[in-house]
C-alpha cells in the first residue's frame, strides 16, 4: 500500500507532524488561558498580545541588547509576566467582583493598545528573528525533512505543559491555588495571602504565552499582529477542551493542531474553518467542553 486515501503516506506523516508543532503553540497558549480562567475567572483577551510581547522582547533583546535566544527564553517570559502582574494589580483586581464581560473588555482594550503602540514604533512589517545557531539545520526522517528547531518546539512545549500541570495538580502551592479559587475567604483565614497568589497566577499565565511567543519568533515573522491572528483559534481550543480544564487545554491544543494539518491535505480550503466547526459541534453536544465538568 503506497497511498492512504490517495495521498502518499510520507506527506500524511509530515502533515501530522507539522500539525503537532502548530498544536504545541495552541497547547501552551491555551494552557495559560485555562489557568487564568480556571483560577481567576478572567477571560483574558490580551493573551495574544502577551504572546506577541514575548516574541518582541526576544527580538528587541537580540537586536539592541545582544541577549541571545536561550537567555531570552527565560528573561522574556519573566519580563512579560511582571507586566502581567502589574496589569492584574492595577486594573483587573478592581473589576474582579463584577461580570466576566468587563474583564473581557478590559483585556481586549489592553491588547488593542499594545498592538497599536508597537505598530507605531516598529511598523507592521514583520521583523526577522534568526534561528539560534545550535538549532540550525535539520534531520531527514525518511518521510520528511525535520528542521531541528521545530523538533525543539515540540519538546519545549510538552515539557512546559507537563511541569505546569504537575505544579498545579500535584504540589502544595497548586493545592492552595485551587482551594483559593473555590473559597478565597476560607483559605485566607488559614493565613495564606490569596490576593498575592492570584496576582502571581495571572503573571504566570501571561508568562506562559510570552514563552510561546519566544518559541515562535524564529519561525514566524515577529509582527505586532501575530497574536491577534492566533488568539481566536486559541479561544476555540479552550472552549472545546472545557473552560478551565488544564489537561483538556493541552490535549485539545495538540489534537486540533493535527486535525488542522490533516484538513490542509484533504481539503485545504476548510483548514481555517475546521476548528470552529468542531467547536460548534462540541458546544451543541457537550456545552462544558470535552474535558470540562458542568458547573
Amino acid at each position: 500500500m503506497d497511498e492512504i486515501f490517495g495521498f502518499p503516506p510520507q506527506l500524511l506523516f509530515a502533515q501530522i507532524f507539522m500539525g503537532l508543532i502548530n498544536g504545541s503553540f495552541y497547547a501552551v497558549l491555551s494552557l495559560g488561558l485555562a489557568i487564568i480562567f480556571g483560577l481567576l475567572r478572567i477571560i483574558n483577551f490580551s493573551h495574544g498580545a502577551m504572546y506577541m510581547l514575548g516574541a518582541f522582547s526576544a527580538w528587541f533583546g537580540l537586536q539592541y541588547l545582544g541577549i541571545n535566544y536561550w537567555i531570552a527564553l527565560v528573561l522574556a517570559p519573566l519580563a512579560v509576566g511582571l507586566f502581567g502582574l502589574l496589569i492584574e494589580r492595577t486594573m483587573l483586581r478592581r473589576i474582579r467582583h463584577v461580570d466576566h464581560l468587563y474583564g473581557l473588555l478590559l483585556t481586549f482594550g489592553i491588547a488593542l493598545i499594545l498592538e497599536g503602540a508597537l505598530v507605531q514604533f516598529f511598523g507592521v512589517a514583520g521583523q526577522r528573528y534568526p534561528t539560534p545557531d545550535e538549532l540550525q539545520g535539520g534531520i531527514n526522517l525518511g518521510f520528511m525533512f525535520l528542521p531541528y528547531y521545530r523538533a525543539w518546539v515540540i519538546i519545549a512545549s510538552v515539557v512546559i505543559c507537563l511541569v505546569t500541570w504537575l505544579i498545579i495538580e500535584r504540589t502544595k502551592i497548586g493545592a492552595y491555588l485551587r482551594a483559593g479559587t473555590e473559597n478565597p475567604d476560607m483559605v485566607q483565614a488559614f493565613g495564606i495571602n490569596v490576593p498575592l497568589m492570584t496576582s502571581l497566577t495571572y503573571g504566570f499565565g501571561v508568562a506562559l504565552s510570552a514563552f510561546a511567543g519566544v518559541l515562535a519568533a524564529p519561525i514566524v515573522s515577529v509582527s505586532p499582529y501575530m497574536g491577534s491572528n492566533l488568539i481566536i483559534v486559541v479561544f476555540a481550543v479552550v472552549v472545546i477542551g472545557g473552560m478551565g480544564s488544564l489537561l483538556g487545554a493541552v490535549i485539545t491544543g495538540l489534537a486540533l493542531g493535527v486535525i488542522e494539518g490533516l484538513t490542509k491535505v484533504f481539503y485545504s480550503e476548510a483548514a481555517g474553518l475546521v476548528i470552529f466547526m468542531i467547536m460548534i459541534i462540541v458546544l451543541l453536544v457537550r456545552p462544558a467542553g470535552l474535558f470540562g465538568r458542568p458547573e
Binding site: 506527506l11 502533515q15 507592521v124 512589517a125 514583520g126 528547531y149 514566524v220 515573522s221 485545504s268
Partner: protein
C-alpha cells in the same frame, strides 16, 4: 416654533444654492474648486505596505515638488489614506474623496481588489484612477474604464517574464501555491498559460488565504509533488513567509526551484540575500539602472530610509505624467486629461517611450532579473542582476487578445 424652523430651513437651502452656484462658476474656470487634488490610496500598514504604502505617498509628493507645486497656476494638494486592503473601505473612501473631498486623481491602488473597487467609482464620478500597485489584468480587460490607467506591471507581464524564462531553462513540471483572491488566481491563470503553451505541465495547485504566516503544509505538499518548479502566485508578506518556510525545509537548496512570480525589492530586503539569492523575478524598474534612476532613488532613500520599489517609482512617474497632461489639456476635467495622457508618450526615469493604450494599459519595457548572492552584492540594496530586457511589445498582453469594451478596432 415650526415657522421658525421652516424659515431656517429656507435660509439653509438658499445658502446652499448660492454656494453651489459659486462652485459651478469656479468649475468653468478650468480647474475645479481652484485646486488639483491627488489622493494616494494604499495599504499603509499591512502586508503590502513595504512596496507601496508610505513610500508611495512620498513618491507622489516628490513628483508634485518636481513639477513645481502648481499646475495651470493652481496649487496641487496631496492627501493619503489607508484602505487596509479592504475593497469595501477602498470603495467608500473613493466615493467620499470624489464627492466631498473633490479629489481629481487617485493613485497607487494596490492590491488588485481595492483597485477594482475604485476604478468603478472613478468612472461613475468622472475622475481618474491610476493603479501602480495592483496586478490584476482585469483592470484592462473585463473591468477596464475610460477613467483608469494601469501603470507599472500586471499578472500577464509577471507570468510572462519569470515563467517563460524558467520553462526555457527546461523546468517543465510546475506546482502552484496561490493566494486565494482575484490577484492570485489571475497570476496563476496567466502563468499556467505560459507554462502550458511552452510544453510544460502543471502537477498541482495549492491555495492559501491572504495574510498567511504558516506555509509548512503547502510547502511540504509542493515538495512531495516532485515538481521542478514551486511557483508562488502571491505577493508581499505572503511571499516572504513562503520563501522563509521553503528555506527552513531546505527546499531552496534542493533540486526544486522556488519561483516567486511577484517579488519586490522590499521583499528581498526583508528576506536577506542569504535566503533570497538566486531567485528569478520580473520587474518593471530597478533603482540601479542608470544615473537618472540612481539620482532619483538616492533622494527617495534619504526621505524614506528605503530604496524605491518599481511600484513607488511608478507612483512618481504616473503623477508627473498626470500633471503634464492636466497642463496640456488646460483643465483637470477627467476625459480631457485622459485624452492627453493617452496621446503623450512617457519619457522619464521610469520609462522610455512608455505609452498608455486605449484599454488603459501603460506599456513599457519589463526586465528579467535574478537576486544576487551575498558575495556579488556590493552595498545595501544592491540586490538585482538584470539578465534580460523584455521589450514593451512582448511584455504585456496584446490589445487584440484582450476584451476591453473601449477597444473598438482590434485589428
Amino acid at each position: 416654533m415650526n415657522q421658525i424652523t421652516l424659515s431656517k430651513l429656507g435660509r439653509a437651502i438658499l445658502t446652499t444654492a448660492v454656494i453651489t452656484a459659486a462652485t459651478n462658476g469656479a468649475q468653468a474656470a478650468n480647474v475645479s474648486d481652484e485646486v488639483v487634488r491627488i489622493g494616494v490610496m494604499t495599504d499603509m500598514s499591512g502586508l503590502y505596505a513595504a512596496q507601496n504604502g508610505p513610500g508611495s505617498v512620498e513618491a507622489v509628493k516628490m513628483a508634485v515638488e518636481d513639477f513645481g507645486g502648481k499646475v495651470l497656476g493652481k496649487p496641487i494638494e496631496v492627501i493619503s489614506a489607508n484602505h487596509q486592503n479592504r475593497a469595501d473601505t477602498a470603495s467608500s473612501l473613493a466615493r467620499e474623496w470624489f464627492s466631498d473631498g473633490k479629489v481629481d486623481m487617485i493613485g497607487n491602488l494596490g492590491p488588485s481588489h481595492t483597485a477594482l473597487a475604485v476604478v468603478q467609482r472613478a468612472e461613475a464620478s468622472n475622475r481618474i484612477a491610476i493603479s501602480t500597485g495592483a496586478a490584476t489584468t482585469k483592470l484592462t480587460n473585463d473591468e477596464c474604464t475610460p477613467n483608469s490607467v494601469h501603470y507599472v506591471y500586471d499578472t500577464y507581464a509577471m507570468a510572462n517574464g519569470t515563467a517563460h524564462a524558467l520553462v526555457e531553462q527546461g523546468k517543465k513540471t510546475w506546482t502552484f501555491i496561490t493566494v486565494d483572491y482575484v490577484f492570485g488566481r489571475d497570476l496563476e491563470r496567466d502563468a499556467i498559460a505560459v507554462v502550458e503553451s511552452n510544453g510544460g505541465e502543471v502537477l498541482s495547485k495549492l491555495s492559501h488565504p491572504l495574510k498567511t504566516s504558516d506555509f509548512t503544509s503547502q510547502m511540504l505538499t509542493a515538495q512531495a509533488s516532485g515538481a521542478e518548479v514551486i511557483a508562488l502566485a502571491n505577493a508581499g508578506g505572503d511571499t516572504i513567509n513562503a520563501i522563509m518556510t521553503a528555506s527552513e525545509f531546505n527546499i531552496t537548496t534542493s533540486n526544486q526551484t522556488v519561483a516567486a512570480l511577484v517579488l519586490f525589492l522590499s521583499d528581498v530586503h526583508s528576506l536577506g540575500l542569504e535566503t533570497a539569492q538566486g531567485l528569478m523575478l520580473t520587474t518593471a524598474w530597478y533603482w540601479d539602472f542608470s544615473n537618472e534612476t540612481r539620482k532619483w532613488s538616492e533622494r527617495f532613500l534619504e526621505r524614506t530610509n528605503n530604496m524605491p520599489s518599481d511600484a513607488q517609482a511608478g507612483d512618481y512617474s504616473s503623477t508627473l505624467h498626470y500633471l503634464r497632461a492636466v497642463e496640456a489639456a488646460g483643465t483637470d476635467e477627467a476625459s480631457a486629461v485622459m485624452a492627453k495622457m493617452k496621446s503623450m508618450p512617457i519619457n522619464d526615469m521610469f520609462a522610455t517611450n512608455g505609452q498608455i493604450r486605449e484599454d488603459g494599459r501603460m506599456v513599457h519595457d519589463m526586465y528579467l532579473a535574478q537576486v544576487k548572492t551575498p558575495a556579488e552584492s556590493k552595498r545595501m540594496w544592491d540586490y538585482f542582476d538584470i539578465i534580460a530586457t523584455i521589450p514593451a511589445e512582448d511584455a504585456f498582453q496584446p490589445i487584440s487578445k484582450g476584451n476591453c469594451r473601449l477597444v473598438t478596432d482590434t485589428e
